[in-house]
Protein backbone atom coordinates (compact mmCIF):
# COMPACT_ATOMS: atom_id res chain seq x y z
CA UNK A 1 0.00 0.00 0.00
CA UNK A 2 2.79 2.41 1.01
CA UNK A 3 6.35 1.95 -0.13
CA UNK A 4 9.52 3.98 0.35
CA UNK A 5 12.54 3.22 -1.75
CA UNK A 6 15.86 4.90 -0.96
CA UNK A 7 14.22 8.11 0.18
CA UNK A 8 16.52 11.06 0.83
CA UNK A 9 15.11 14.27 2.30
CA UNK A 10 16.07 16.97 4.74
CA UNK A 11 16.16 20.64 5.57
CA UNK A 12 18.16 23.39 3.94
CA UNK A 13 21.04 21.74 2.10
CA UNK A 14 21.40 18.84 4.52
CA UNK A 15 19.94 15.36 4.04
CA UNK A 16 18.46 13.97 7.24
CA UNK A 17 17.22 10.80 5.56
CA UNK A 18 19.98 8.96 3.78
CA UNK A 19 18.03 6.40 1.81
CA UNK A 20 15.09 5.06 3.78
CA UNK A 21 13.40 1.85 2.64
CA UNK A 22 10.13 0.72 4.17
CA UNK A 23 6.82 -0.91 3.29
CA UNK A 24 3.36 -0.97 4.80
CA UNK A 25 0.94 -3.52 3.31
CA UNK A 26 -2.79 -3.12 3.20
CA UNK A 27 -4.41 -3.58 6.62
CA UNK A 28 -1.05 -3.72 8.34
CA UNK A 29 0.03 -1.70 11.37
CA UNK A 30 3.70 -0.79 11.22
CA UNK A 31 5.67 1.02 13.91
CA UNK A 32 8.54 3.37 13.11
CA UNK A 33 10.86 3.55 16.12
CA UNK A 34 14.07 5.34 16.95
CA UNK A 35 15.66 7.85 19.24
CA UNK A 36 14.92 11.51 19.28
CA UNK A 37 16.41 13.04 16.14
CA UNK A 38 16.62 9.75 14.23
CA UNK A 39 14.50 11.14 11.39
CA UNK A 40 11.08 9.63 12.13
CA UNK A 41 9.14 12.88 11.77
CA UNK A 42 11.19 13.79 8.72
CA UNK A 43 10.21 10.46 7.14
CA UNK A 44 6.52 11.18 7.65
CA UNK A 45 6.92 14.74 6.35
CA UNK A 46 8.60 13.44 3.22
CA UNK A 47 5.79 10.92 2.65
CA UNK A 48 3.01 13.48 2.98
CA UNK A 49 4.76 16.05 0.81
CA UNK A 50 5.52 18.67 3.45
CA UNK A 51 9.18 18.46 2.47
CA UNK A 52 10.69 17.53 -0.85
CA UNK A 53 11.93 14.02 -1.57
CA UNK A 54 15.38 14.62 -3.05
CA UNK A 55 16.02 11.11 -4.23
CA UNK A 56 14.29 7.75 -4.20
CA UNK A 57 10.58 7.06 -4.56
CA UNK A 58 7.41 7.01 -2.49
CA UNK A 59 4.52 4.89 -3.80
CA UNK A 60 0.94 4.81 -2.59
CA UNK A 61 -1.06 1.89 -3.98
CA UNK A 62 1.63 1.52 -6.64
CA UNK A 63 1.49 5.16 -7.78
CA UNK A 64 4.44 7.54 -7.38
CA UNK A 65 3.51 10.37 -5.04
CA UNK A 66 6.91 11.82 -4.23
CA UNK A 67 6.59 14.76 -6.57
CA UNK A 68 3.07 15.75 -5.55
CA UNK A 69 2.06 18.65 -3.28
CA UNK A 70 0.44 17.71 0.06
CA UNK A 71 -3.11 18.42 -1.11
CA UNK A 72 -2.76 16.00 -4.01
CA UNK A 73 -1.36 13.34 -1.69
CA UNK A 74 -4.31 13.67 0.72
CA UNK A 75 -6.71 13.34 -2.19
CA UNK A 76 -5.04 10.06 -3.13
CA UNK A 77 -5.83 8.69 0.31
CA UNK A 78 -3.01 9.43 2.71
CA UNK A 79 -3.60 11.24 6.00
CA UNK A 80 -0.82 12.47 8.25
CA UNK A 81 -1.57 13.21 11.92
CA UNK A 82 1.40 15.42 12.78
CA UNK A 83 3.60 15.47 15.85
CA UNK A 84 2.36 17.90 18.48
CA UNK A 85 -1.28 17.48 17.37
CA UNK A 86 -1.47 20.75 15.38
CA UNK A 87 -5.22 21.14 15.66
CA UNK A 88 -6.82 24.31 14.31
CA UNK A 89 -7.02 26.04 17.68
CA UNK A 90 -9.21 28.94 16.51
CA UNK A 91 -11.75 26.61 14.91
CA UNK A 92 -14.38 24.57 16.68
CA UNK A 93 -14.11 20.80 17.00
CA UNK A 94 -16.86 20.53 14.37
CA UNK A 95 -14.94 22.78 11.99
CA UNK A 96 -11.72 20.85 12.58
CA UNK A 97 -13.47 17.64 11.58
CA UNK A 98 -15.04 19.32 8.57
CA UNK A 99 -11.60 20.52 7.46
CA UNK A 100 -10.28 16.99 7.92
CA UNK A 101 -12.59 16.05 5.06
CA UNK A 102 -11.56 19.06 2.93
CA UNK A 103 -10.06 16.78 0.29
CA UNK A 104 -13.48 15.09 -0.08
CA UNK A 105 -15.62 18.20 0.25
CA UNK A 106 -18.88 18.14 -1.62
CA UNK A 107 -19.44 14.50 -0.70
CA UNK A 108 -21.47 13.43 2.32
CA UNK A 109 -19.53 13.33 5.58
CA UNK A 110 -22.33 11.80 7.61
CA UNK A 111 -21.11 8.19 7.87
CA UNK A 112 -17.52 9.12 8.47
CA UNK A 113 -18.51 11.68 11.08
CA UNK A 114 -20.74 9.19 12.91
CA UNK A 115 -17.98 6.62 12.96
CA UNK A 116 -15.35 9.11 14.17
CA UNK A 117 -17.60 10.46 16.92
CA UNK A 118 -18.38 6.94 18.00
CA UNK A 119 -14.64 6.25 18.17
CA UNK A 120 -14.03 9.45 20.15
CA UNK A 121 -17.14 10.12 22.26
CA UNK A 122 -15.39 13.01 24.04
CA UNK A 123 -15.42 14.97 20.78
CA UNK A 124 -19.19 14.80 20.69
CA UNK A 125 -19.29 16.54 24.07
CA UNK A 126 -16.83 19.19 22.86
CA UNK A 127 -18.38 19.52 19.40
CA UNK A 128 -19.04 23.28 19.41
CA UNK A 129 -16.01 24.22 21.48
CA UNK A 130 -12.85 25.88 20.12
CA UNK A 131 -10.16 23.23 19.67
CA UNK A 132 -7.63 25.46 21.43
CA UNK A 133 -9.57 25.09 24.68
CA UNK A 134 -9.31 21.27 24.70
CA UNK A 135 -6.87 19.38 26.93
CA UNK A 136 -3.77 17.88 25.36
CA UNK A 137 -5.31 14.41 25.27
CA UNK A 138 -8.52 15.68 23.73
CA UNK A 139 -6.52 17.58 21.12
CA UNK A 140 -4.70 14.36 20.25
CA UNK A 141 -8.05 12.58 19.81
CA UNK A 142 -9.19 15.44 17.61
CA UNK A 143 -6.02 15.32 15.53
CA UNK A 144 -6.49 11.60 14.87
CA UNK A 145 -10.20 12.07 14.22
CA UNK A 146 -9.47 14.88 11.76
CA UNK A 147 -7.02 12.61 9.95
CA UNK A 148 -9.67 9.89 9.71
CA UNK A 149 -12.25 12.27 8.26
CA UNK A 150 -10.43 12.08 4.92
CA UNK A 151 -11.21 8.33 4.79
CA UNK A 152 -7.53 7.57 4.25
CA UNK A 153 -6.21 4.38 2.71
CA UNK A 154 -3.11 4.91 4.85
CA UNK A 155 -2.90 6.81 8.12
CA UNK A 156 0.41 8.19 9.44
CA UNK A 157 0.44 9.05 13.15
CA UNK A 158 3.40 10.85 14.73
CA UNK A 159 4.03 10.41 18.47
CA UNK A 160 0.40 10.37 19.60
CA UNK A 161 1.32 9.69 23.24
CA UNK A 162 3.86 12.50 23.55
CA UNK A 163 3.25 14.65 26.62
CA UNK A 164 0.04 12.89 27.68
CA UNK A 165 -0.91 11.61 31.10
CA UNK A 166 -0.64 7.82 31.56
CA UNK A 167 -4.43 7.54 31.45
CA UNK A 168 -4.59 9.44 28.19
CA UNK A 169 -1.76 7.35 26.75
CA UNK A 170 -3.84 4.30 27.55
CA UNK A 171 -6.89 5.81 25.82
CA UNK A 172 -4.86 6.69 22.72
CA UNK A 173 -3.51 3.15 22.41
CA UNK A 174 -6.98 1.71 22.92
CA UNK A 175 -8.13 3.78 19.96
CA UNK A 176 -5.16 2.68 17.86
CA UNK A 177 -6.02 -0.94 18.66
CA UNK A 178 -9.59 -0.33 17.52
CA UNK A 179 -8.37 1.22 14.28
CA UNK A 180 -6.24 -1.85 13.75
CA UNK A 181 -9.28 -4.09 14.25
CA UNK A 182 -11.21 -1.97 11.76
CA UNK A 183 -8.53 -2.84 9.21
CA UNK A 184 -6.88 0.57 9.03
CA UNK A 185 -3.48 0.65 7.38
CA UNK A 186 -1.31 2.48 9.86
CA UNK A 187 2.25 3.76 10.09
CA UNK A 188 2.85 4.70 13.71
CA UNK A 189 5.80 6.73 14.98
CA UNK A 190 6.44 6.29 18.70
CA UNK A 191 9.11 6.84 21.31
CA UNK A 192 7.21 4.47 23.55
CA UNK A 193 8.63 1.41 21.80
CA UNK A 194 6.96 -1.33 23.83
CA UNK A 195 3.53 0.24 23.63
CA UNK A 196 3.96 0.66 19.89
CA UNK A 197 5.09 -2.93 19.45
CA UNK A 198 1.95 -3.95 21.34
CA UNK A 199 -0.30 -2.72 18.50
CA UNK A 200 2.02 -3.13 15.52
CA UNK A 201 2.45 -6.18 13.30
CA UNK A 202 5.94 -5.14 12.27
CA UNK A 203 8.38 -2.37 13.05
CA UNK A 204 11.37 -0.50 11.66
CA UNK A 205 14.04 1.08 13.79
CA UNK A 206 15.53 4.25 12.34
CA UNK A 207 19.00 5.48 13.20
CA UNK A 208 20.93 8.33 11.61
CA UNK A 209 18.50 8.58 8.71
CA UNK A 210 18.60 4.89 7.78
CA UNK A 211 16.65 1.81 8.73
CA UNK A 212 18.88 0.00 11.18
CA UNK A 213 16.58 -2.87 12.02
CA UNK A 214 13.30 -4.33 10.87
CA UNK A 215 11.17 -7.25 11.83
CA UNK A 216 7.98 -8.52 13.35
CA UNK A 217 6.86 -6.99 16.64
CA UNK A 218 7.24 -10.35 18.37
CA UNK A 219 10.89 -10.62 17.42
CA UNK A 220 11.74 -6.95 18.04
CA UNK A 221 10.16 -6.98 21.49
CA UNK A 222 12.93 -9.28 22.65
CA UNK A 223 15.71 -7.59 20.72
CA UNK A 224 18.45 -6.02 22.83
CA UNK A 225 18.61 -3.03 20.46
CA UNK A 226 15.00 -2.17 21.07
CA UNK A 227 15.57 -2.71 24.76
CA UNK A 228 18.42 -0.19 24.66
CA UNK A 229 16.21 2.19 22.73
CA UNK A 230 13.53 1.82 25.34
CA UNK A 231 15.87 2.37 28.27
CA UNK A 232 17.78 5.15 26.56
CA UNK A 233 14.77 7.06 25.33
Amino acid sequence: MLELEGVRAGYGGVDVLEGVHLRVSEGEVVALLGRNGAGKTTTLRAISGLIRVRAGAVRLGGERIDRLPPEAIVRRGLSHVPEGRQVFGDLTVAENLRMGAYARRGRSLRDQLDWVLELFPVLRQRYGQLAGTLSGGEQQMLAIARGLMARPRVLLVDEPSLGLSPRMVHTVFTVLARLREAGTTLLLVEQNAFRALGVADRAYVLKGGRVELEGSSEVLKTSPEVERLYLGA
Partner: protein
Protein backbone atom coordinates in the same frame (compact mmCIF):
# COMPACT_ATOMS: atom_id res chain seq x y z
CA UNK B 1 -27.16 69.69 22.53
CA UNK B 2 -29.33 69.68 19.43
CA UNK B 3 -30.64 66.15 18.83
CA UNK B 4 -31.00 66.70 15.12
CA UNK B 5 -27.37 67.75 14.76
CA UNK B 6 -26.34 64.79 16.86
CA UNK B 7 -28.24 62.31 14.71
CA UNK B 8 -26.76 63.85 11.56
CA UNK B 9 -23.35 63.47 13.11
CA UNK B 10 -24.04 59.87 13.99
CA UNK B 11 -25.47 58.82 10.63
CA UNK B 12 -22.85 60.75 8.69
CA UNK B 13 -20.16 59.27 10.93
CA UNK B 14 -21.42 55.74 10.38
CA UNK B 15 -21.60 56.32 6.62
CA UNK B 16 -17.97 57.45 6.57
CA UNK B 17 -17.11 54.71 9.03
CA UNK B 18 -18.54 52.07 6.68
CA UNK B 19 -15.94 53.07 4.09
CA UNK B 20 -13.16 52.98 6.69
CA UNK B 21 -14.42 49.59 7.77
CA UNK B 22 -14.23 48.23 4.20
CA UNK B 23 -10.71 49.55 3.87
CA UNK B 24 -9.83 48.00 7.23
CA UNK B 25 -11.46 44.66 6.37
CA UNK B 26 -9.20 44.34 3.32
CA UNK B 27 -6.10 45.09 5.37
CA UNK B 28 -7.08 42.73 8.17
CA UNK B 29 -8.02 39.90 5.82
CA UNK B 30 -4.64 40.00 4.09
CA UNK B 31 -2.77 40.43 7.36
CA UNK B 32 -4.63 37.61 9.06
CA UNK B 33 -4.14 35.05 6.32
CA UNK B 34 -0.68 35.93 5.05
CA UNK B 35 0.97 37.76 8.00
CA UNK B 36 1.74 40.73 5.76
CA UNK B 37 0.58 44.27 6.42
CA UNK B 38 -0.19 45.51 2.93
CA UNK B 39 1.20 49.02 2.52
CA UNK B 40 0.11 48.95 -1.11
CA UNK B 41 -3.53 48.62 -0.09
CA UNK B 42 -4.37 52.29 -0.69
CA UNK B 43 -2.68 52.35 -4.08
CA UNK B 44 -4.36 49.14 -5.22
CA UNK B 45 -7.66 50.81 -4.25
CA UNK B 46 -6.65 54.01 -6.07
CA UNK B 47 -5.65 52.31 -9.30
CA UNK B 48 -8.82 50.19 -9.24
CA UNK B 49 -10.88 53.35 -8.76
CA UNK B 50 -9.04 54.90 -11.72
CA UNK B 51 -10.01 51.87 -13.79
CA UNK B 52 -13.64 52.51 -12.86
CA UNK B 53 -13.11 56.17 -13.78
CA UNK B 54 -11.59 55.28 -17.14
CA UNK B 55 -14.48 52.98 -17.99
CA UNK B 56 -17.28 55.19 -16.69
CA UNK B 57 -16.08 58.69 -17.56
CA UNK B 58 -13.60 58.14 -20.38
CA UNK B 59 -15.24 55.15 -22.10
CA UNK B 60 -18.81 56.03 -21.21
CA UNK B 61 -19.86 52.78 -19.54
CA UNK B 62 -22.74 52.80 -17.06
CA UNK B 63 -21.11 53.62 -13.76
CA UNK B 64 -22.26 50.44 -11.99
CA UNK B 65 -20.85 48.24 -14.76
CA UNK B 66 -17.60 50.19 -14.59
CA UNK B 67 -17.47 49.67 -10.83
CA UNK B 68 -18.00 45.91 -11.15
CA UNK B 69 -15.31 45.64 -13.81
CA UNK B 70 -12.96 47.63 -11.56
CA UNK B 71 -13.58 45.18 -8.73
CA UNK B 72 -12.63 42.36 -11.08
CA UNK B 73 -9.46 44.26 -11.90
CA UNK B 74 -8.71 44.69 -8.19
CA UNK B 75 -9.12 40.96 -7.58
CA UNK B 76 -6.74 40.17 -10.39
CA UNK B 77 -4.20 42.74 -9.23
CA UNK B 78 -4.26 41.42 -5.66
CA UNK B 79 -3.82 37.83 -6.81
CA UNK B 80 -0.95 38.82 -9.12
CA UNK B 81 0.88 40.62 -6.31
CA UNK B 82 0.63 37.51 -4.13
CA UNK B 83 1.36 34.87 -6.77
CA UNK B 84 3.85 36.87 -8.81
CA UNK B 85 5.83 38.68 -6.11
CA UNK B 86 5.19 37.54 -2.57
CA UNK B 87 5.20 33.79 -3.18
CA UNK B 88 8.51 33.76 -5.01
CA UNK B 89 9.91 35.95 -2.19
CA UNK B 90 8.55 33.56 0.46
CA UNK B 91 9.99 30.64 -1.45
CA UNK B 92 13.41 32.32 -1.09
CA UNK B 93 12.81 32.62 2.68
CA UNK B 94 12.16 36.37 2.69
CA UNK B 95 11.35 37.76 6.14
CA UNK B 96 7.94 39.20 6.90
CA UNK B 97 9.54 42.64 6.97
CA UNK B 98 10.95 41.98 3.52
CA UNK B 99 7.48 41.06 2.27
CA UNK B 100 6.03 44.23 3.78
CA UNK B 101 8.65 46.24 1.92
CA UNK B 102 7.59 44.47 -1.29
CA UNK B 103 4.02 45.69 -0.71
CA UNK B 104 5.35 49.20 -0.14
CA UNK B 105 7.21 48.96 -3.45
CA UNK B 106 4.08 47.74 -5.19
CA UNK B 107 2.18 50.71 -3.79
CA UNK B 108 4.78 53.25 -4.91
CA UNK B 109 4.94 51.67 -8.36
CA UNK B 110 1.18 51.74 -8.78
CA UNK B 111 1.11 55.32 -7.52
CA UNK B 112 3.69 56.30 -10.13
CA UNK B 113 1.83 54.47 -12.89
CA UNK B 114 -1.44 56.16 -11.97
CA UNK B 115 0.33 59.52 -12.20
CA UNK B 116 1.75 58.67 -15.62
CA UNK B 117 -1.53 57.37 -17.04
CA UNK B 118 -4.06 59.72 -15.47
CA UNK B 119 -1.99 62.73 -14.38
CA UNK B 120 -2.17 64.66 -11.15
CA UNK B 121 -5.08 67.01 -11.81
CA UNK B 122 -7.98 66.30 -9.49
CA UNK B 123 -10.86 64.51 -11.20
CA UNK B 124 -14.45 64.23 -10.16
CA UNK B 125 -15.90 60.76 -9.94
CA UNK B 126 -19.59 59.97 -10.46
CA UNK B 127 -21.85 58.79 -7.63
CA UNK B 128 -22.97 55.18 -8.08
CA UNK B 129 -26.52 56.11 -7.13
CA UNK B 130 -28.27 59.46 -7.36
CA UNK B 131 -31.66 60.38 -6.04
CA UNK B 132 -33.50 62.33 -3.40
CA UNK B 133 -32.37 61.90 0.19
CA UNK B 134 -34.23 59.60 2.52
CA UNK B 135 -36.34 61.47 5.05
CA UNK B 136 -37.20 59.84 8.35
CA UNK B 137 -38.91 62.31 10.66
CA UNK B 138 -36.47 65.10 11.35
CA UNK B 139 -33.61 63.18 9.80
CA UNK B 140 -32.53 63.44 6.15
CA UNK B 141 -29.99 60.96 4.87
CA UNK B 142 -28.31 61.61 1.51
CA UNK B 143 -28.48 58.71 -0.90
CA UNK B 144 -24.70 58.23 -1.02
CA UNK B 145 -24.65 57.78 2.75
CA UNK B 146 -27.38 55.17 2.47
CA UNK B 147 -25.33 53.37 -0.17
CA UNK B 148 -22.24 53.39 2.07
CA UNK B 149 -24.19 52.03 5.01
CA UNK B 150 -25.92 49.39 2.90
CA UNK B 151 -22.65 48.33 1.27
CA UNK B 152 -20.91 48.15 4.64
CA UNK B 153 -23.63 46.10 6.29
CA UNK B 154 -24.16 43.81 3.29
CA UNK B 155 -20.46 43.10 2.79
CA UNK B 156 -19.90 42.48 6.50
CA UNK B 157 -22.85 40.05 6.51
CA UNK B 158 -21.63 38.23 3.39
CA UNK B 159 -18.11 37.94 4.80
CA UNK B 160 -19.47 36.66 8.09
CA UNK B 161 -21.51 33.97 6.35
CA UNK B 162 -18.60 33.11 4.06
CA UNK B 163 -16.17 32.57 6.92
CA UNK B 164 -18.69 30.78 9.09
CA UNK B 165 -20.42 28.46 6.63
CA UNK B 166 -18.59 27.91 3.35
CA UNK B 167 -15.87 25.26 2.97
CA UNK B 168 -13.54 27.81 1.46
CA UNK B 169 -14.20 30.38 4.18
CA UNK B 170 -13.56 27.89 6.97
CA UNK B 171 -10.48 26.70 5.04
CA UNK B 172 -9.15 30.27 4.99
CA UNK B 173 -9.55 30.46 8.76
CA UNK B 174 -7.87 27.07 9.04
CA UNK B 175 -4.85 28.32 7.08
CA UNK B 176 -4.37 31.23 9.40
CA UNK B 177 -4.90 29.07 12.47
CA UNK B 178 -2.29 26.47 11.51
CA UNK B 179 -0.62 26.51 8.16
CA UNK B 180 1.07 23.10 8.35
CA UNK B 181 -2.12 21.39 9.46
CA UNK B 182 -3.98 23.14 6.65
CA UNK B 183 -1.55 21.68 4.12
CA UNK B 184 -1.95 18.25 5.69
CA UNK B 185 -5.73 18.19 5.37
CA UNK B 186 -5.41 19.12 1.71
CA UNK B 187 -6.12 22.83 1.66
CA UNK B 188 -4.19 24.43 -1.22
CA UNK B 189 -2.50 27.05 0.94
CA UNK B 190 -0.95 29.10 -1.86
CA UNK B 191 -4.26 29.46 -3.61
CA UNK B 192 -5.87 30.51 -0.35
CA UNK B 193 -3.20 33.21 0.03
CA UNK B 194 -3.95 34.44 -3.49
CA UNK B 195 -7.65 34.40 -2.75
CA UNK B 196 -7.29 36.50 0.37
CA UNK B 197 -5.19 39.02 -1.55
CA UNK B 198 -7.85 39.12 -4.26
CA UNK B 199 -10.66 39.51 -1.75
CA UNK B 200 -8.77 42.06 0.34
CA UNK B 201 -8.01 44.14 -2.75
CA UNK B 202 -11.66 44.03 -3.82
CA UNK B 203 -12.69 45.36 -0.41
CA UNK B 204 -10.18 48.20 -0.75
CA UNK B 205 -11.49 48.97 -4.24
CA UNK B 206 -15.08 49.08 -2.98
CA UNK B 207 -13.97 51.59 -0.35
CA UNK B 208 -12.16 53.63 -3.00
CA UNK B 209 -15.10 53.69 -5.38
CA UNK B 210 -17.53 54.65 -2.60
CA UNK B 211 -15.23 57.40 -1.33
CA UNK B 212 -14.13 58.86 -4.69
CA UNK B 213 -17.27 60.95 -5.44
CA UNK B 214 -16.69 62.89 -2.21
CA UNK B 215 -12.91 62.69 -1.98
CA UNK B 216 -12.35 63.25 -5.73
CA UNK B 217 -9.75 61.26 -7.59
CA UNK B 218 -6.02 61.89 -7.79
CA UNK B 219 -3.14 59.41 -7.32
CA UNK B 220 -2.39 60.57 -3.75
CA UNK B 221 -5.91 61.16 -2.55
CA UNK B 222 -6.39 57.74 -0.97
CA UNK B 223 -3.56 58.14 1.54
CA UNK B 224 -5.99 59.65 4.04
CA UNK B 225 -8.44 56.84 3.47
CA UNK B 226 -5.70 54.23 3.86
CA UNK B 227 -4.63 55.77 7.16
CA UNK B 228 -8.20 55.76 8.39
CA UNK B 229 -8.46 52.13 7.35
CA UNK B 230 -5.30 51.43 9.33
CA UNK B 231 -6.66 53.28 12.33
CA UNK B 232 -9.90 51.29 12.14
CA UNK B 233 -7.98 48.02 11.78
CA UNK B 234 -5.68 48.83 14.69
CA UNK B 235 -8.64 49.92 16.78
CA UNK B 236 -10.32 46.60 16.07
CA UNK B 237 -7.21 44.59 16.93
CA UNK B 238 -5.66 44.16 13.44
CA UNK B 239 -6.55 40.47 13.31
CA UNK B 240 -10.28 40.63 13.87
CA UNK B 241 -12.78 41.10 11.05
CA UNK B 242 -15.66 42.11 13.38
CA UNK B 243 -13.10 44.35 15.08
CA UNK B 244 -12.35 46.08 11.78
CA UNK B 245 -16.04 46.79 11.26
CA UNK B 246 -16.48 48.09 14.80
CA UNK B 247 -13.26 50.11 14.54
CA UNK B 248 -14.38 51.73 11.29
CA UNK B 249 -17.80 52.65 12.62
CA UNK B 250 -16.35 54.02 15.83
CA UNK B 251 -13.70 56.05 14.05
CA UNK B 252 -16.25 57.54 11.65
CA UNK B 253 -18.51 58.65 14.48
CA UNK B 254 -15.62 59.95 16.62
CA UNK B 255 -14.33 61.98 13.68
CA UNK B 256 -17.70 63.55 13.07
CA UNK B 257 -18.12 64.34 16.74
CA UNK B 258 -14.65 65.88 16.81
CA UNK B 259 -15.40 67.93 13.70
CA UNK B 260 -18.73 69.18 15.00
CA UNK B 261 -17.97 69.80 18.63
CA UNK B 262 -14.20 70.27 18.42
CA UNK B 263 -12.34 71.58 15.43
CA UNK B 264 -11.69 70.51 11.88
CA UNK B 265 -8.01 70.08 12.74
CA UNK B 266 -8.89 67.69 15.51
CA UNK B 267 -11.04 65.70 13.06
CA UNK B 268 -8.20 65.51 10.55
CA UNK B 269 -5.65 64.23 13.04
CA UNK B 270 -7.92 61.91 15.01
CA UNK B 271 -6.94 58.81 13.02
CA UNK B 272 -3.27 59.27 13.96
CA UNK B 273 -4.15 59.87 17.58
CA UNK B 274 -6.15 56.66 17.55
CA UNK B 275 -3.33 54.65 15.97
CA UNK B 276 -0.77 55.88 18.49
CA UNK B 277 -3.04 55.61 21.52
CA UNK B 278 -4.24 52.12 20.72
CA UNK B 279 -0.77 50.81 19.99
CA UNK B 280 0.54 52.23 23.25
CA UNK B 281 -2.38 51.51 25.56
CA UNK B 282 -4.08 48.44 24.15
CA UNK B 283 -2.07 46.86 21.31
CA UNK B 284 -4.60 44.13 20.67
CA UNK B 285 -7.36 46.68 20.12
CA UNK B 286 -10.99 46.21 20.97
CA UNK B 287 -11.54 42.70 19.66
CA UNK B 288 -8.09 41.38 18.76
CA UNK B 289 -6.90 38.01 19.99
CA UNK B 290 -4.13 39.63 22.00
CA UNK B 291 -1.44 37.71 20.18
CA UNK B 292 0.52 40.78 19.27
CA UNK B 293 3.85 39.80 17.81
CA UNK B 294 6.73 41.72 19.23
CA UNK B 295 9.64 42.60 17.02
Amino acid sequence: MDLRVLSDVLVGGLAAGAVYALMALGLVLIYKTTDVVNFGHGDIATVSTFVAYALAVQAGWPVLAAAVAALGFAALLGAVVELGLLQPARFRQASVLGLVVVTLGVGLTLNGLAGIVWGHDVKSFPFLLTGPPLRAGELTIPVDQILNLAAGVAIAAVLYAFFRFSDLGVAMRAVLSNRTAAELVGIPVRRVFALSWALGSVLGAVAGILAAPILYLEPNRMVDLLLRGFAAAVLGGMDSLPGAVAGGALLGVLENLAGTYGSIDLKASLAFVVIVLVLVVRPHGLLGAGRVRRA
